[in-house]
């Protein structure tokens, strides 16, 4: 058991990175413009770089590392898979280049598929529009999300 003290206005990102040693959320702009720091707060994609840690209160926070467990709970699986289907699909499509933005891409795509299991291309583009990729891998991300949507069993809970 570790105890960590943080000023209430500290953005969640720095607590996750420095106190908890998590590698999913990462700094990209500090301005909520790019999405590299995204986490799920109660299942909702949230920019941790501008979210004061005090505002989290009793809410649950899921990072990239916790996504397979989050998926298992969502789908009522007895055991968490090694990877969330979106993560596996990113590998299958060999989508990445540098991969720095993929924390946010994967988090946002997981949120999207939890709400719309079979999104259209237009729905994918619209949902992902707040996440930037400088390497130009958007087309492959779309393909990976479509692939993941086919991997996720339709019946859940």
């Amino acid at each position: 058991m570790w105890k960590i003290t943080a000023a209430p206005d500290t953005p969640l990102l720095y607590v996750l990175s420095n106190e908890l040693g998590l590698q999913g959320p990462r700094f990209g702009c500090g301005l909520a413009q790019c999405g590299s720091c995204s986490v799920l707060v109660e299942g909702v994609e949230t920019r941790s770089c501008v979210t004061p840690v005090a505002s989290i209160g009793s809410k649950s926070v899921t990072t990239l590392e916790g996504l397979p467990s989050w998926y298992a709970r969502q789908k009522g699986l007895s055991k968490a898979p090694a990877l969330h289907p979106v993560q596996q699909a990113m590998i299958d499509e060999q989508a990445l280049q540098c991969g720095y933005c993929y924390n946010g891409m994967i988090i946002k795509a997981a949120e999207l598929l939890s709400k719309i299991p079979q999104p259209s291309e237009a729905q994918i583009r619209s949902a992902m529009n707040g996440h930037l990729c400088r390497c130009g891998t958007y087309p492959r991300i779309t393909k990976a999300i479509q692939r993941a949507s086919r991997m996720i069993p339709e019946v859940s809970k």
């Binding site: 058991m1 960590i4 607590v15 590299s36 993560q87 280049q97 130009g136």
Partner: protein, 674 residues
Amino acid sequence: MTSVPTGTAFPRRDFLKGGGALIIGFSLCGAAFGQEGVDLVALATGPDQPDLKQLDTWLAIHADNTATIFLGYVELGQGSSTALLQIAAEELDLDISQVKSARLDTNRSPNQGATAASAAIARGGPRVRSAAAEARRTLLTMASKRLNAAIDRLTVSNGIVSVVDNPKRTVAYGALLGDKPFDVPFTGTAPLKPVSAYKIVGTRVPRKDIPDKVSGKYVYIQHVRVAGMLHGRVVRPRGQSAYAAGAKVLSVDESSVRNIPNARIIRRRDFIGVVAPNEWDAIRAAEQLKVTWQVMPELPGHADVYDQMRAAKTTDVVLKESGDVVAALDRAAHVVSRTYRGPYQAHAPFGPACALARVTADSAVVMCSTQNAYDTRGKLAQVLGMPAGKVRVQYYEGSGTFGRSCYDDAAQAAAILSQEVGKPVRVQFMRWDELGWDNYGPAHLADVRAGVDANGTIVAYEYRGWQHGWSTTETSQQYLFRQRNTTDSRWLGVLNAVAQAAGWMPRRAAARLSDANVVTGRGIAVGTHLSSYAAAIAEIEVSKDTGRIVAKHLYGALDAGLAVNPAFIENQISGMLVQATSRILKEEVTFSRTNVTSLDWNSYPVLRFEEYPEVTPIVIQRMDQKSSGAGEEALCSAAAAIANAFFDATGARLRQYPLTPNRVLAALSQDESN
């Protein structure tokens, strides 16, 4: 308290409010820190310049029959580290799963210069191939003695050497050498496997870095932490002033950060930074610290930059001149003179530069995402005032940088701060540091004249360019591109491949103009960066009332010689088509009369998810040719194809990019006959 798996949601009981601060209690099964086990003290020792003429500098064979390849080029997200391992595995007759690469480290890795200008495979590949072949030859010599069989009767598969007519007599590489050094010179004389025998090179091996990158296990430079380190930030004006003018400090008001007691201000001449044990304290202190900067020389202001370039005193350099262009223009049946303008553009890596340094009285270890570790080491040695041999640089991947951005600056800032405070310091730039203090791609202005004869053959071409303090004149009686286009089978190869993929049917450009509000057009272009052959086709839509261009579909064909891994090159082409769309339609560094003003993703917009074109990448595999660059060779053709597509759609030409709605509307309202 029950244990919470690393990185999973931490539930409500883990957040306990206490006093003025939020206290988070949790337990971890498996410590999240120390993944890299970075031991900075141990790192500070060791040889300072690995000997390129020793085989052990290039690779090691382990007892478990695997190999570590010491690469002199770094992974930047293109997959080149996996491709270089394919080359090594091929020559060693190992499976791709039996080879891994080591982190690039100035005290361990061969110095092969910068990972830049698409060099990793073109220049790095031959050395890796040669070293692996020599290692195989050395191992076979050892196996020959062990198995008491002549070398020409030995065969190798997955690192197991066996005798041709007696396959039960075998010995593994690992048993021959197992973790011991070769201790032989690297002569470069071992024969190479013939291309016709390749089983791994030329195939679509998956990238080795991707699984850890999607799971969150991959250690980017931004993740590296060491015990006892401080967080540092640099303090400087928001946005640089005139190039190379720097920023001179007049005064520092230390009382302005008195409310952050743990933050310490560090000043060395005009360099100012802050350090603090807590990262948020360092960020807040750097933002709050009041510094009065000397007013710097005036910039031309955004609108006037091209006029100033033309008016400036220049030193002319002739890069190429052949024939008498003036006479050829006089003879031409038609002459076209046009001026083209391109803005300053940023490298704009997605994650700002980051570095971690531990500097002591007589040594330094600096971890950063440099594309040229040895060059960075030399600069750090200068800044720190110690011999280069005392400085060790280790590469950790950052985000894609697309050229020399701010990673040297971050490394030097971390080193200076560590030297001042006597502790390890991690510096991460803020978004405005990266976009505001980049070593930008320079703006350029070009006057181009071209003449064609009555048959439409180009007979004269003159290019006069102004670029950031230098200008060029290129003249040629026969436009080089045209000559290549008609005679060189590799240019024709990419041109035909892209045309076939896009179903291109020849017709006169701008022959199908329409009165509709949204019109479509297509354009084609060829181009290169340094060494390869690329062609692109763009299909676009233009909205006449908003001036907005939408890139619908881009096709790109690239001939980069022997494609070690065609899948990686397809990914590179796709990325280039998207980034070229971003650069030609959106990107532009802006500045006032005093500072750069494009400091975030709103003021320096890049292409977004809703704007990307469908992409079709085509790799021309040339097993009989040397590998050449694949990282940036298709950018120019893709951008030019979009500009040509605009003409096809509207009958109007845009000669200044980015092709923003304002410029589109202005072009559409002008008479194009001028």
